[in-house]
């Protein structure tokens, strides 16, 4: 009971300082992940407008004209009419991202109440554009069918000429969320400890009668809480930018649990480093030789499959890989425990080990009298 109260005191102070400083938490929690998402995500994601699409129409019936005019309303597409050979050339030279083929019997089949399939050849090397395009076609086709009083009368057959891409922002978001946890753990754990020592604020706790374990745990918990706060901000930003979270609230909660577990591990890790570090510059070195590679080799930005063979073992021993993979599995596939077990086991083991190492080395640097 007394221990919990003491733990709370330390936790309370850390959080109060964190909240009280108007600039840093915002910079750390919001600007940082935003920047990554904007840099890596918006370049591909967000709202894509004015996508050039070539139209090869063999039907001049009124329904095909109506369908085409419906497609061109809004800002999403820019239609260009072309002959089949011209259209193919436009697509290959990347002047259009898709070629729509409307068959000769389009109007006729719809008149007689039958469904019709239009084909859409796409360049999906830029996945966000391909997705936006496909989504627009699907939406228009649905409402066009509905106006005719039919269901799914116009089906769009997507034919990615370079193979199908993944939706990059969906792919990227879990990695960015976990990166936020990793980076803010370095600040909340290691940096905080170094600054505390530098400015002597640790001394204030040390001369007080509260238990040494409460000091350590209070600081670690506060660090984890701060990391999770940043991670949640990143997650919400991702969702606002259109990232789909498969299992809704349960998925959200599970991602937070993942943040908690990995946050513990990363805080423990950065604390262990910080106890051996006396200057901020040294922490920057650790950032560069350890943290950045952990992030780049986690599969957060590019799939592990695209890595050269010699690099793969690094990704396999990298705890970030499992944290990212778990978050991605939850966010994209939903909660399917079989797919999560290995990841969960690895990050939990990492968290426990690092927590022990971190709190042990922290305790050792507290030094002197227990």
């Amino acid at each position: 009971m007394r221990f919990l109260r003491e733990l709370y005191v330390v936790f309370w102070k850390e959080m109060l300082v964190w909240v009280n400083n108007p600039m840093l938490p915002v910079v750390r929690a919001l600007v940082f992940p935003m920047m990554w998402i904007v840099i890596f995500g918006s370049a591909f994601g967000g709202e894509v407008n004015h996508i050039p699409v070539a139209v090869v129409s063999e039907d001049s019936g009124e329904l095909s004209l109506a369908y085409l005019s419906m497609l061109s309303t809004g800002r999403t597409l820019e239609l260009k009419y072309a002959s089949p050979s011209e259209a193919e050339k436009l697509l290959k030279t990347r002047r259009v991202y898709g070629v729509l083929h409307i068959p000769a019997d389009f109007t006729e089949r719809l008149r007689s109440g039958e469904g019709v399939t239009v084909s859409l050849s796409t360049d999906e090397s830029t996945p966000q554009i391909a997705n936006a395009m496909a989504a627009h076609f699907a939406k228009v086709s649905r409402s066009f069918s509905a106006q005719l009083g039919l269901e799914d009368a116009v089906r769009v057959e997507r034919d990615p000429i370079y193979g199908r891409g993944v939706k990059y922002l969906d792919y990227l978001a879990p990695g960015v969320v976990m990166m936020t946890i990793l980076f803010s753990s370095i600040f909340s754990g290691g940096l905080n400890l170094i600054l505390d020592r530098e400015f002597g604020t640790l001394k204030m706790l040390m001369v007080s009668p509260i238990s040494r374990d409460a000091i350590i745990l209070g600081k670690i918990f506060a660090g984890v809480a701060q990391s999770i706060a940043s991670g949640v901000v990143a997650l919400v930003v991702a969702i606002l930018m259109g990232v789909h979270l498969k299992s809704g609230a349960a998925g959200f909660a599970l991602v937070i649990l993942l943040m908690f577990i990995s946050g513990f591990g990363f805080i423990g890790m950065s604390t262990a480093f910080a106890t051996r570090i006396t200057q901020l510059e040294q922490l920057m070195v650790v950032m560069q030789v350890l943290i950045m590679p952990m992030w780049f080799l986690s599969g957060g930005l590019y799939p592990l499959e695209s890595m050269p063979d010699w690099m793969k073992p690094l990704a396999i021993v990298n705890p970030m890989t499992y944290a990212t993979d778990a978050a991605r599995a939850v966010m994209i596939r939903g909660i399917i425990w079989e797919t999560l077990l290995l990841d969960l086991a690895v990050i939990s083991a990492f968290a426990i080990a690092m927590f022990l190492v971190g709190s042990y080395s922290f305790k050792k640097t507290l030094g002197g009298i227990k």
């Binding site: 109260r5 005191v9 309370w12 102070k13 001394k203 001369v207 509260i210 009298i369």
Partner: protein
């Protein structure tokens, strides 16, 4: 005895910071550690406040051993370290609340004490300001009362006025006296300011290179130099002969660096006459002459042969060399 220290020793990888010191402090005293940089003052405070384990020896605060019963000790002490340890991002009030919480006080207890404490150091109107915005003197004042919140029996003040202007320093002395007399708190402070030790402390312990040179009331320490006043003479030339002649005339020479010599004399008028006639005889001029009461600085020089203010001593040496070069 509220502080009892016996043969306390601390080594840092072979460097002896505190070299087997023993002393004790009585309840209600203002006790001062006076020593130059690196004397071992902070190291001693760190051991007494349970921040550092001694290499050997024992220390007890209010009867509790600092190593074996640290928690008992921690409950009874307050520390104002050499460097400011307030949370700059918290307000003065929040800093106090946090401090109170660390010592297990309830919110009501804390709230009821805060305004009174801030009042003592005239910071009431700044209670809601972030400490980051405080001046050095304000931070010091806040720290001074912060440690009173949990009503400690002893407070340790490590160089409480270092870096402050003389006016602020005097105010801080006032607060320290107030908390000592009105609240009955025992004060252990370190300083390398002579006036601070002299004005504030009931007893002063002179420490250098981790060793205690002397402990006593400031007045009595000064009497160690003998009865009388300090006469400082600066000569233009023939300094060595002059110093020798003074010695032969039976004067107690306290220090002689080059052409500056300090003697102790019971009747300074007589010295002046003799100094002038001696200078006349040697055919040298007197650059300056001054008579003053002895200070703890003189006591320090008496024990160590050097000034506590290393810079000042260095300065004298440089002037000495410059003078020699000119001639």
């Amino acid at each position: 005895m509220i502080i009892e220290v016996e043969r306390l020793r601390k080594e840092f990888n072979g460097v002896v910071a505190v070299d087997g010191i023993s002393f004790s402090v009585e309840r209600g005293e203002i006790f001062g550690f006076l020593g130059p940089n690196g004397a071992g003052k902070t190291t001693t405070i760190n051991i007494l406040t349970t921040l550092l384990a001694p290499t050997s020896g024992t220390a007890r605060i209010a009867g509790y051993d600092v190593v074996k019963q640290p928690e008992q000790v921690r409950r009874r002490i307050g520390l104002v370290p050499q460097e400011v340890v307030l949370e700059g991002d918290l307000t003065a009030r929040e800093n106090l609340i946090f401090h109170g919480m660390l010592y297990g006080l309830s919110r009501q207890q804390i709230e009821s004490r805060i305004s009174e404490l801030l009042d003592i150091v005239e910071l009431e109107d700044r209670a809601e300001s972030k400490v980051r915005t405080f001046s050095g003197g304000m931070k010091r004042r806040l720290e001074l009362v912060k440690v009173l919140l949990h009503e400690p029996e002893v407070v340790f003040l490590d160089e409480p006025t270092v870096g402050l202007d003389p006016q602020t320093r005097r105010r801080i002395w006032e607060y320290i006296r107030t908390l000592n007399t009105e609240r009955g708190v025992t004060v252990f402070l370190t300083t390398h300011y002579m006036e601070e030790a002299e004005q504030l402390c009931d007893r002063v312990c002179i420490i250098d290179h981790g060793r205690i040179l002397d402990i006593d009331q400031p007045d009595r320490l000064k009497h160690r130099l003998g009865e009388g006043e300090m006469v400082e003479i600066e000569l233009a030339e023939r300094c060595e002969e002059f110093v020798r002649s003074l010695g032969e005339a039976g004067y107690r020479i306290k220090s002689a660096t080059g052409c500056r010599v300090t003697v102790v004399a019971e009747r300074s008028e007589r010295v002046l006459a003799e100094v002038f006639s001696l200078a006349d005889r040697l055919g040298t001029g007197i650059v300056s002459i001054s008579i003053r009461k002895p200070t703890l600085e003189d006591v320090f020089i008496h024990y160590t042969g050097r000034s506590i203010r290393d810079e000042a001593a260095g300065d004298t040496r440089i002037r000495e060399i410059a003078r020699r070069l000119k001639h």
